[in-house]
């Protein structure tokens, strides 16, 4: 295929050429960045929480009448006992928060020693008892679980100073890289040292972009939280999630009605918690994907429109070429190559634009740097799209009969 005559003819319709190239360039810039955003969000969405999500329920209970702190341990114990006797409940414990929570979360700086000035890393703090691991289905990688006699009551405002803790593998790896964490010591906040007795495989922090940098660094502390609001995490037996969801709050009210459990958010399955936590992420991913598809469609439509116009404008020239011996595939190739040349110009400009747009997003919205793979995918997608879009008008051109050369328009 000869490129020179194509270039020569492009000079006759500069404006159309420039417009198609510009459109391809802009589309490439937006599509690369949008796909990149989609991929980043999807990666976040797919992060495992580490807990057995399919069979977990969370109940948020608020005590009515603000019972005094000394009354709370008995109330908590009674509730846990009530829940344990609900048919379909496998295990239960009470905590201050849970992975992916969007409503409550504690975090504290973790240090090696008490007098270390800045913390080594923040960590989510989860209150737990000996039932926590089995309730959430956490896998113990090393060490042991809490014992019943290690669990203490803690007033919400009191200082957290556990003698033993369990940590996630991610936190252990941050604090003691390539070393056995069990038996080592860490300091939570400014409190005295706590000994690590167990390492669990994975347990995500609560939701919120500020926790993204330390997403799996969690610490389990052996406490029951004494506060006006208590959170119960319930593990149900297989297939009984829905039954327990109805029966558990009813059982709690039957045992003691001086409480309120919010009608909308008081009882949540983990699937609901996950959906709430990642609402924005999935939404942004969907929005960007829709915009990508629409953009590609608009660009393809533009290419079809302009190329159809060129074909109809050049029917006579095509007829002459056919009369002089050009085959149908010669004509087809002519238009495909013409489009390829314009698209190449477009994607070169588009690559620069994509990097520029990404730079703007980095400086304005704290986005990550666009990886080159996305540009390559975008370039290939647009080149293919161009060829596909031009195919129909080009086929029509190839069917122009040589007789057209002799007709006047």
């Amino acid at each position: 295929m000869q490129i020179k005559p194509i270039l020569a003819s492009l000079r006759w319709h500069k404006a159309g050429t420039v417009l198609i190239a510009l459109q391809i360039a802009l589309t490439l810039a937006v599509v690369c960045n949008a796909l990149f955003i989609v991929q980043q969000r999807v990666v976040r969405l797919l992060r495992p929480s580490g807990v057995e999500e399919s069979s977990l329920l969370v109940i948020q209970n608020q005590w009515a009448g603000k019972p005094a702190t000394p009354q709370l341990p008995a109330l908590l114990a009674a509730d846990l006992d009530t829940l344990r006797h609900v048919p379909g409940v496998a295990d239960v414990y009470s905590s201050n928060s849970y992975p992916l929570s969007s409503t409550s979360g504690w975090s504290m700086g973790v240090r090696y020693t008490r007098d270390q000035k800045t913390p080594t890393t923040p960590s989510a703090i989860y209150f737990a008892d000996q039932h926590a691991l089995s309730t959430m289905g956490l896998k113990l990688l090393a060490g042991r679980n809490f014992r019943a006699d290690e669990i203490a009551d803690l007033d919400g405002r009191a200082t957290l100073a556990p003698s033993v803790v369990m940590v996630t593998w991610a936190l252990a790896e941050k604090l003691f890289p390539n070393d056995q964490a069990v038996g080592k010591r860490l300091c939570i906040g400014n409190a005295g040292p706590s000994t690590i007795i167990g390492v669990v495989e994975r347990m995500q922090t609560f939701s919120g972009s500020f926790a993204d940098a330390w997403v799996e660094r969690s610490t389990l502390v052996p406490y029951r939280l004494l506060s006006g609001i208590s959170i119960y995490v319930i593990r149900t037996r297989p297939g009984q999630l829905n039954e327990v969801m109805r029966a558990a709050p009813a059982a709690l009210f039957a045992a003691n009605r001086l409480r309120s459990i919010d009608a909308k958010t008081g009882v949540q399955t983990f699937a609901e918690i996950r959906a709430t936590a990642y609402k924005t992420d999935s939404g942004v991913a969907i929005l960007m994907a829709v915009i990508c598809v629409l953009l590609l469609a608009v660009t393809a439509a533009g290419i079809i429109g302009l190329t159809s116009f060129w074909v109809s404008q050049r029917r006579r020239q095509i007829g002459v070429r056919r009369a002089l011996g050009a085959t149908r595939s010669d004509i087809l190739n002519y238009f495909l190559t013409e489009n390829l040349l314009i698209s190449l110009g477009g994607v070169i400009l588009g690559t620069l634009l994509a990097i520029g747009l990404n730079a703007v997003m980095i400086s304005q919205f704290e986005m990550a740097r666009l990886s080159f793979g996305y540009v390559v995918i975008g370039v290939l997608a647009l080149l293919l799209l161009g060829q596909a879009a031009v195919l129909a008008p080009a086929l029509r051109a190839s069917r122009v009969s040589p007789v057209e050369a002799t007709r006047s328009v």
């Binding site: 802009l26 405002r157 200082t159 915009i291 919205f365």
Partner: protein, 436 residues
């Protein structure tokens, strides 16, 4: 003449239906994408209190000092109880209030009704006049109630409906966690978005608070904050220990009507922090800030970054659609070079050709705008997928959005038509006539 042009345009648009449809679709989708994201953006970045935002200020005081390892400009988002109380007592602004979010359990009088949780704020009497809060019945409490630590409460219209069936409940009582409060007022429809007075607790766009009660009373009852509590170190034990700790959890707002008052308040704040340094509470020079309402929203990054990103992406989308329209109009117009040549030869001026094609473009713009409007309405519904319901709820189609959508569509198409129409106006009549 105009009618003739419109007639010509309609005839030409119906002649090449495919191209016309492509143009209308392109403009429609471009406008819809931009307008949908703009609706969300406008909803979340608007001024919640336009008539007064320039007179409302919130102070920041560095109570942690340089050793906290933070940047110099990164002051705590809230005040300690100690500082908030000092500012309240100093009474240096014409109005001021300390605020913090609280939650209680409402215990209905009828034994048959279940208790339920309610959320609201503890504030001072100045809160209501300062933020122009509308009342349906009654009003806020008095400054005397603040000092007397009175059991008074202001409830929302919704809570009033739930408890008192929407009747005038001023003077009636209700029970929160065993304490009885007298209703002093029922709010009108009031839920400024974003909720500027509590953005630091992540409550920018949540549902309206259900009640307000005196700050002094809430502290007397040892009510914990329902919002963030940020402690540099574990506080000393007990309620008093926490109150006088360096934990920050109190929001503070002042009304400063003019520049002189703002200047005086800045000096007062600096003076206060220097005084704290002198008495040895702060070991660092005064580091204070005073933001007005809009600066504060900006400082707290209230507009979610997703909205800004999608606004940028939508604008780029619109640009692509515009380029697309230029290309299609060009194809359409150049296809009719012959016809233009004839018209020119028969005496039409360049200006007239120009006018004719601009009108044709404007018609495409109107059609695209109408399509865009339908798609925008769909898009605004779809926003529920993209943003949390509390934000999505704010984005609504209203008259100004409809007007803006049509305007953007028409202006964009007319702008896109400039170059193709210019090309058309410069068609050489002789050349066209000769070759056809």
């Amino acid at each position: 003449m105009l009618i003739y042009y419109i007639e010509l345009a309609l005839r030409s648009l119906t002649r090449s239906r495919g191209l016309t449809a492509l143009m209308v679709l392109s403009i429609g989708f471009g406008v819809a994408a931009s307008m949908t994201t703009f609706a969300v953006f406008r909803a979340v970045s608007g001024n919640p209190l336009p008539e007064k935002s320039a007179q409302l200020f919130t102070p920041q005081i560095d109570n942690l000092g340089p050793q906290s390892g933070k940047a110099k400009d990164d002051l705590p988002d809230a005040l300690t109880y100690t500082d908030a109380m000092a500012l309240m007592q100093a009474h240096q602004a014409s109005r001021q209030t300390a605020i913090y979010p609280v939650g209680y359990t409402m215990i209905p009088d009828e034994v048959t009704r279940m208790p339920f949780g309610v959320n609201g704020y503890a504030a001072y009497a100045d809160f209501f006049p300062m933020f122009n809060v509308p009342f349906r019945y009654g009003g806020g409490w008095s400054n005397v109630d603040d000092t007397r630590r009175a059991n008074v409460i202001v409830i929302s219209a919704l809570l009033n409906k739930k408890l008192f069936d929407g009747s005038n409940s001023v003077g009636r009582t209700l029970n929160l966690d065993g304490h009885v409060y007298r209703v002093s007022g029922v709010l009108g429809d009031w839920n400024p978005q974003p909720r500027f007075y509590d953005v630091n607790n992540g409550n920018g766009f949540t549902e309206a608070p259900q009640f307000f009660l005196p700050f002094t009373r809430a502290v007397d009852l040892q009510t914990d904050t329902a919002g963030g509590n940020n402690c540099p170190a574990p506080p000393p034990p007990g309620w008093e220990g926490w109150l006088h700790s360096p934990c920050v959890w109190v929001s503070f707002w002042t009304e400063l009507p003019d520049t002189a008052a703002q200047q005086r308040y800045r000096q007062f704040l600096t003076g206060y922090a220097s005084e704290q340094q002198r008495i040895g509470r702060f070991n660092w020079p005064a580091n204070v800030r005073l933001h007005d309402l809009m600066q504060w929203l900006d400082h707290e990054h209230v507009v979610p970054p997703e909205t800004r990103v999608s606004l940028l992406v939508a604008a780029s989308f619109m640009l692509v659609c515009l380029v697309n329209t230029i290309g299609l109009l060009l194809a359409k117009i150049m296809r009719r070079s012959g016809e233009i040549g004839v018209r020119r030869a028969l005496g039409a001026s360049r200006g007239e050709i120009y006018g004719q094609f601009m009108i044709e473009a404007a018609l495409v713009g109107v059609a695209g705008g109408v399509l865009g409007l339908l798609l925008t309405a769909l898009g605004v519904v779809g926003v529920g997928l993209v943003f949390a319901p509390d934000i999505a709820r704010l984005a609504a189609v209203n008259a100004s959005l409809v007007g803006l959508t049509l305007l953007v569509a028409v202006v964009a198409t007319v702008v896109a038509a400039f170059y193709p129409a210019w090309r058309a106006a410069h068609v050489q009549p002789a050349w066209q006539l000769k070759c056809n």
